[in-house]
Structures are given as structure tokens and as C-alpha cells.
Symmetry: C2
Subunit: 270 residues, 2 copies
């Protein structure tokens, strides 16, 4: 692994290797390639691979306490995934439900220790966090909570196409996770035993992204529908980004903890 | 006005002048004074008079661009108030609705230029912001948006008592606004012509707080109901606090703008 920064890695093995969309007529239905290009352009600007917190993480510049804060807060997002997917499931037809159901199983598993939520708790334990404290979600930053909670109306209100399109960040997540696993192993070797979650997501997210993109492309009948897809992806990027904003503000700089926020042992000893 | 910092002012003319609650039995119904004491203790810790952004504001340490960012983002909260109050209205009985209706009129007014929303847009114009840009809410920080949006499920889901109790931050807002008006005039004289909103709130918020507290005290039949009231107030404090966290992060320190965020003229010239 010769890369020193995420920037180098992105430059060499681009996460966003899709040609930019060439779209001239704002009323014309986009082709498959044009729509994919448009979504990739949104990801290139707004997906959280560019967030300053992730850049610090991938450059090995986070303390153990900051990694813990990330794992603890991000769990709130993880535990919400099967909830939002259940809402989406409730709005689909039988064929859609058969395809979408796997997402819930991927996260919930079929018994203790088998799904993504348990795998995230394993990551938490590997970080030295108390499993029950993380699982309680009691110490999540309000900013993280509000961002994640906003995922529910995004999938329950508005057109069904919007609900499905909100998952399209998975177009980008596979490559980000592959990079992240390398960087985590390199810079935080004490985390190496806790990476089961990411390993599983590598294949899961590719399958999910392919299905979701094929579905929204096929069901978007008008250019307005396609714009709605782009808007849902933008909002979802905002949800991911705002979680990291809250984390950076509280645990990196300026380091202002909101009332009641979780403190790492290092912080509380100061 | 001899105070130099909000801290001094709070110490002298305490916003939170209520005796702390003496509560020994965790199952016993609280008296009026005990409940009020409990709510004031929450405010003393969590109300946004203590937020670092407000402290900077009240000490005269914000730039014009930072004041503009506050006014622009806070408008998203202002325009949501009559929406959340309409939801609360829809859940009350006729007597409740008669009392609560005034809140909607306070903010919407009875014609152009007469309500709190228009008064906030006047403040925006006084700051040098474009009225239409602010009114569009297009440039609101995602963190602000998610925090404010979470006000809606807080009043639409869960018990009606929770919906009413979420307004109890008005127990504290009158005194904060009185202080703020003095500090704004002192430190940002170019804002003086735009303070109509705050002036109106001085009396409105006192009336509103008295009604809401009387209502929740009367309708809380069990200690669990009273705990629910306290929890709703806590969550509402989080909503106010998280808006300022997002603002501080983007416009004070570290100054990381999320993708698509509003930039002040000073910032965009840099």
C-alpha cells in the first residue's frame, strides 16, 4: 500500500471514475449513461469521502478517542438502516420486496453475531467501547441524531422513487470502504480485528447499488422523475455529511461538546 | 448598560432565577414549584443562551458575515414555527385551539409586514441580505435543516403533552431576548433598525410560556407524564443548540463549509 493520503489514492484509483454527464436539453429524458454521469457528479462534490473528518481518519491523524466517537455516533446511523429499509419495503410491490429484503437481513442478520449491526458493535468493542453503551444510543450527538432521523421522512414521504433513490450513495460506498479498510489497517492496527462490517459491505453494497440504480432508471418516466432521483441522492449525501460535521465540531475542532455529549476517557481526564 | 459579557449579565440578572428542584422520591407527582424547578434546571444546562455562538454574538465578536449567516439559517427555524404550531393546533380540543391560535398569528401576521416571519425578513434586509434569498431557504446548512425538521415529529408523534411541552423553552426566551436586544444595539448598531421581531417576542413569549406551563402542569396526571414534559424540553433545547453547532462549525471555527453552503460576500472574496 504505497498511498499516503486519500487524495493520492482517489487520484490513482478514482472512486468517481464515471465520465461527467453531457446534458444540454433540460427537458429531455436522460439516457442510462447520462443519468449515471449526473449522479456521479453529485457524488464527486457531496459524498462524504471528501469530508475533512474522513480525510483525517484516512491519513491516520485521529486519536483513539476520536475513532471511538465516530464508531459510537455512526452506530445510530447503522441501527436506523433496517428501519428505513422496512419503511421502503412497506411501499414496494411483491417483486420489489423480494429484491429489497436482503438489505434488512444484511444488517439484522439471522441470529446474534450474524448481521451488520452486530458487526458494528464488534468494531465498537475492538475500539474499547462498552457494547451496551453504544447500543443504547443514549450518547449520540444531537446533530448526528437529527441528521439520521431525517432519513425516515425522506423514505416515508414523497414519491416511492425518492425513497429508493436515497440509497444510491451505495454507488460510491464500495470503493470508499475498500480504501478505508486499507487505511484503517495501516494507521490503526489495533482496529484490525473489528473490520468484519466493512468486509461484508464490499459485496453487499455493489449488489444493492446495481439493483437500486436499475430500478430508478427503469421507473423514471420523465425528466422530472430523474431530477427527483438526483435530489434524493443530494439529500442523502447531506445526511452523511452532516453527521461528520457534528462529529468534527464536537471532537476535532473547535471541540465544543454539546450538553450531555459522550466524552472519551482521554477527554474526561483532562 | 454596564455589562461587558453575557456571563456577567446572567450572573446579575439571572435568566434562571428559579430555585433548584428538591426532589427526593422518583415516583411522586411533583408540585407546581418542583416541576418548574426541574424545567429551569434543564434550561440552565441546555438552553442556547450558553451556546458559544451566542456568547460571541453577545460579546460583539461576530463579523457582519457571521451575523448574516445566523439570520439566514435561523430563518429556517422561524418559518417552521407556524407549521409546527398548526400541527399542535390540529391535535388540541376547541378550548386549547382558541388559546394556541395566537401563536400562529404572532408569526404569520394578518397581512404583509405584520407578523414575526416578516419581521425576521426585515432583520435580514437590515443585515444586507437579499430578502428572496433568505425566504427561499435554499442556502440553509444541512445541519440546521435536520435539527429544525426534527421539530415536526416531536409535535406530531408521541403524546399531546410532549407536543405542548416542546414549546417550554419560552420559559427562558423572554429574558434572553431582552439581553440580546441590548447587546445587539451596543455591538452591532447597524442592526438597530431590524430588531422589531425581538421587541414583539418580549411580551408574546411570556404569555405563551405561562399558558404552556399551566397546561402541561394541569394535564400531567402521573410522574411519568411529568418526566415526559422534561424530556420534551430537553429535546427542544437540543434542537436549538444543534442549529448553532452547525453555524459555529461552518462560519466560526473550523470554518468548514458543507457542499453548497451559503457564503458571505467577505468569505467568497477570500
Amino acid at each position: 500500500m504505497g498511498h499516503t493520503t486519500l487524495k493520492d489514492a482517489v487520484a490513482e484509483r478514482s472512486i468517481f471514475d464515471h465520465a461527467p454527464a453531457q446534458i444540454e436539453d433540460s427537458s429531455q429524458l436522460l439516457t442510462r449513461e447520462q443519468l449515471l454521469g449526473k449522479l456521479h457528479a453529485i457524488g464527486a462534490e457531496r459524498y462524504h469521502h471528501r469530508h475533512p473528518f474522513h480525510l483525517l481518519m484516512h491519513e491516520g491523524k485521529l486519536t483513539r478517542g476520536q475513532i471511538q466517537a465516530w464508531v459510537l455516533n455512526r452506530f445510530y446511523y447503522q441501527q436506523m438502516i433496517p428501519i428505513k429499509d422496512s419503511i421502503i419495503l412497506s411501499r414496494g410491490d411483491v417483486e420489489f420486496r423480494r429484491a429489497w429484503l436482503k438489505r434488512i437481513v444484511d444488517h439484522d442478520g439471522s441470529g446474534q453475531g450474524t448481521g451488520g449491526i452486530d458487526a458494528w458493535l464488534l468494531l465498537a468493542e475492538t475500539c474499547g467501547l462498552d457494547r451496551a453503551v453504544v447500543a443504547s444510543c443514549e450518547h449520540v450527538l444531537p446533530g448526528t441524531r437529527f441528521a439520521v432521523d431525517s432519513y425516515l421522512p425522506l423514505v416515508s414521504d414523497g414519491p416511492f422513487l425518492q425513497a429508493v433513490a436515497s440509497s444510491l450513495t451505495e454507488l460510491f460506498s464500495g470503493k470508499l470502504i475498500a480504501l478505508r479498510m486499507e487505511f484503517l489497517k495501516q494507521h490503526y492496527p489495533w482496529l484490525s480485528e473489528g473490520l468484519k462490517y466493512f468486509k461484508a459491505r464490499l459485496t453487499q453494497s455493489r449488489e444493492d447499488a446495481e439493483f437500486a440504480f436499475a430500478y430508478v432508471f427503469e421507473h423514471a418516466r420523465t425528466r422530472e422523475d430523474q431530477e427527483l432521483i438526483a435530489k434524493a441522492l443530494t439529500r442523502k449525501c447531506d445526511i452523511l455529511w452532516a453527521q461528520l460535521d457534528a462529529l468534527y465540531y464536537a471532537y476535532v475542532a473547535p471541540g465544543n461538546l454539546p450538553p450531555g455529549a459522550w466524552q472519551s476517557e482521554a477527554t474526561s481526564e483532562q
